[in-house]
Amino acid sequence: MPGAEPHIDYSPSLGDTVKTTTCYMCACRCGIKVHLKDGRVRYIEGNPDHPVNKGVLCGKGSAGIMTQYAPARLRAPLLRVGERGAGEFKEISWAEALDIATGWLSKVRAEDPRKLAFFTGRDQSQSLTGFWAAQFGTPNFAAHGGFCSVNMAAGGLYTIGGSFWEFGEPDWELCKYLLMFGVAEDHDSNPIKIGIGKMKARGAKFVSVNPVRTGYSAVADEWVGIRPGTDGLFALALVHELLRTEQVDTAFLARYTNAPWLVVRNPGGADDGLFARDADGKPLAWDRSRGAIPAATADLSAVLAGDYTLPDGRTAVPVFQLLAERYMAPDYAPEAVAATCGIPAVRIKRIAAEIADVAFNQAITLNQPWTDVYGRRHETMVGRPVAFHAMRGISAHSNGFHSCRALHLVQMLLGAVDTPGSWRYKSPFPRPIPPGPPPAGKTSAPNTPIPGNLLAFPQGPDDLLVNEDGSPIRIDKAFSWEAPLGLHGMMHTVIANAGAEDPYSIDTLFMFMANMAWNSAMNPGEVIRILTEKKANGEYRIPHVIYSDAYFSETVPYADLILPDTTYLERWDAISILDRPIGSAHGPGDSIRQPVIEPDRDVRAFQTVLIDLGARLGLPAFTKPDGTPRFRDYADYIANHERTPGVGPLAGFRGPEGDKKGVGEPNPNQLQRYIENGCFWQHKIPHDQSYFKHANAAYLKDSKAMGLIPNENQIVMQIWSEPLQKFRLAAQGHGPKQPPEHLRARVAKYCDPLPIWYTPLEQQMHDTTGFPLSAITQRPMHMYHSWGSMNAWLRQITGSNKLYLARERGLAQGLVDDDWVWVSSRNGRLKCQVKLMEGVNPDTVWTWNAIGKRAGAWMLTPDSPEATKGFLLNHVISEWLPAQEGFRSANADPVTGQAAWYDLRVDVQKCAADEVPLTAPHWDTLTPPPDMPPAPDMLRYTVGEKA
């Protein structure tokens, strides 16, 4: 009857089952609760008990249902039957697929294991994949870190023993001033959001240094619209100002950094720039009354400046003197850097004064006693409540390693590392500097595992993976003189190097979850050319390509064998303590994924397939002595694999009773215990271990006991980096291992033991006058690279992208919103639409990352806006620096090999009126693999009563 309010069911059921697991809609690793009804996903929500996200869930995680049920999911193993790129496949059984893969791989392993390049993209199981590669015997392994974060990892790990990215965090509860540089949104995404919310509620000041005012920068109290690639110079100007105004925490520097360590001053000598050490190799400092004594002396009364004569007659100066000499020079004065950075000097000075004021005049004192490594009890913890945070805006430049070090230097001068209110380490950091042994892989032999970690930490030239002539051992040239600290490998160079057979050819390219024929490549067109290139004998340049992905991405048509992966809700996973666990400043933690729904396709989890292949190939760690498989599947491996006795993929619930942390025998019920605990494990450290972890005796002791660090020694932060100086000395002609001539000057210049700033390499090496604009990308908060466009909800939010440019500049060029423009660089040109905006550095253009899609991919119809209006900036980026005399080097940081995506310079010109309004380059339409069901026109997704 009209007029009566309808009956409302106020308490509908959320389903018949709820299971916890870990999100994978980006790299944040939030805990989720998945509500199911009749085996279908009803609702995904944040797990309130989870340490990472505490119940909240971002725009991506909340759209997980549409990723789970996307029509682009691959259905069965596929074997290429046409030419590469033609998209002609046939479905095969898993038995066939595994036989084929085993056939190719066993031949490579028996002949020359280096001919396998195993690169695993956005892999969250690197402790397995890296181990598998070493067991296989190839040094050619990495995930995607080389084109993502390695500048930050290397910059941090070689400086403060921890790093930004997701490995450290501002003290969200106590920080009074946050200076954030170019933070991307797909790592630590919810913790940062939660933290910013808390900070803002408290009224703390948040300053964002970013060429673009979107996302986090939008809520900053102050936005500093810096020119891309100049953050390091800005940071060094802050250093200059802090030194000039003498607002430096000298006590912190003397206690916790190598500022007082003595550096030998012997220009031209083989020991120049190395630390003065005693007979036991301990670094020395100059004590006011006792002269040169080990720096690690409890009652050291150190000097920070002056020239001193060592007992052996050599001259040495404290590190602090070297840094003060350098950064007090006029080159780093705010006035000198203002034009380059696009920030007025008065503003740089004000920001320097503000951070100094907060650090020194608004210090925090916690009444929390603690004991330092010298056994001295401190009654309080004094904090400098200025926090720094940085990610991709620093990382994606060829000067990013040094820029990152420059930021850490500012932190150290302020005494704002792991103190109340400042930036804090997240477990398992801090770790020794550098954290571990050098990279393995100097030699490889048929059917022989390589002992050790393939991706590890060189301390000097002896640790590089180079041949006698200085040429690279690895296909990607990581850990060579081109990228001595290439800690994460260089996935962005693998295909190009293999295509050029430089340093050698490969037989099999094995990839996982990396869209290398599209948005993951610096230059997708070149990757496609190489993958389809044939040698004179008709064989492909790269004879075999195996690819594992869950979805029909742009890379699928370029592989020979497709191993279809499960979705994140269909598999086991370990967010492993051996890799990138979910620890926080409050203590270590790790987590798992458990399958919450059964796959409805003939797919298998990549990690389980890898373990199966390991057994088929007879890799020792994956095979029992009798030759049978050691592990049933990935879940079995997670619970029972031991890397060293008592240490496995998961740190929680170890030992037969499940009561051991970090170290303990495998526990057959470990996964069950994790599930009972919400699929995570967390150890909360006591309050007296919360800060000063690098010198906190109780913290270091407990951490060692849990196997997180190898010893209990103080972790002394390294302002002056001796490993870098060693590389430089080699370049200057010292020692048995020296760089090849064409790299000598480059190594000498860029392996500077103190942070430096230089114009990004690409911009130094070509005439940029025709390309006045810096061009960068930003991550939309609701998309994780390309994995959002097959999601029916997320693609509605951003289905196409435009090029954003400063309104004034655009109007001056006669541009209005939605005009089509040509964007040209030294590498080519692309066509897209523009959008004018206020909040962007006037010399910068930008767009959203990875929105443009190749027509037909991801089961989107070719008329989809992703393919007709969306575009990738990648098409005008080059993977190579401008050609140099006789050789070409990667468009990357010269120290770490990090891909320099953001060094791009472009010009923007309006399209002629008669040009077709269609994105360019516009590639041929891809055809889906066989038997993919057509994507529905309309979705009426619902679970429950109305289903």
Binding site: P2, G3, Q796, I797, T798, G799, K835, M837, P865
Partner: protein, 311 residues
Amino acid sequence: MKPAGSIVFFTVASGAGYGLLFWLGLLGAGGLIGGDGLFVLTVIGLALVLITAGLCSSLLHLGNASRAWRALSQWRSSWLSREGVAAILTYIPAIGSALCVLTGAYGWAVLLALVAALCSLATVYCTSMIYASLKPIKEWAHPLVPAGYVILSLFSGAALLATLMALAGEDPSVPALQALVFGGLGAGLKWQYWRSIDTARPLATLGTATGLGRIGTTRPLDPPHTQSNYIMREMGFRVARKHALSLRRITLWAGLALPALLAALSLVIAGPLAALLLLVATLLALAGLLLERWLMFAEATHTVTLFYRGT
């Protein structure tokens, strides 16, 4: 606002039907309708056909036409409900009047036709108030809108009646005069209305819609979704200014002034030619009203577009 064809046709057709009923009732009461019972029945029949066709057309606009009966329930608050009630009620005296004609109860027929005339007027007024009560659309929530709907309904009804009378060989001069008067009134009113909406201040700005005006000029950066949506297709329709101005001119001259002029001419020319003139006038008027109603939508702006376009 996106012109909804079904609604445009509905208000024009039923408007003409109600106008016809109105004049039949009013002039009948004044003894000014000549002709026999068959003529009256024809007029009532045509009016009801137009009304019914319009109402049926309006059902096409509904997502769930089978429940349309529910629309009669909320007459206390909803103009649409009132319109529905009034529209249904109008059938009763109209059909009653026709039955009285058939049964020869002419007195009753005249009385019931008068009631139908009042119901018709009420229905058209209700229709107009559906639009006039929508605050977010300043071109609709305008004092001239109800007057416009009523006058134009009376105009088209008068033109129709005059044509029918002329065709039936009756003297059409009374309704023709009304067509002239209301055509002229309608033209003046539309001219005044357009002038008014052209100069009207916006109801709100993006600054007040978002509250961000306090910071400075507010401009959209990114839309919530990069493709369109129901709201924008429905409310975001815009007709080009140049296009709208020429359509206005056509409406004004060809749809209102010219038919009025033809009606005036018919007053001085008798016979079949007058019938032809009136027929042409009526067809022009109906076509003009379709255009006028299309423009009512096309030129209407909704505050929600502020959120998307900033204007």
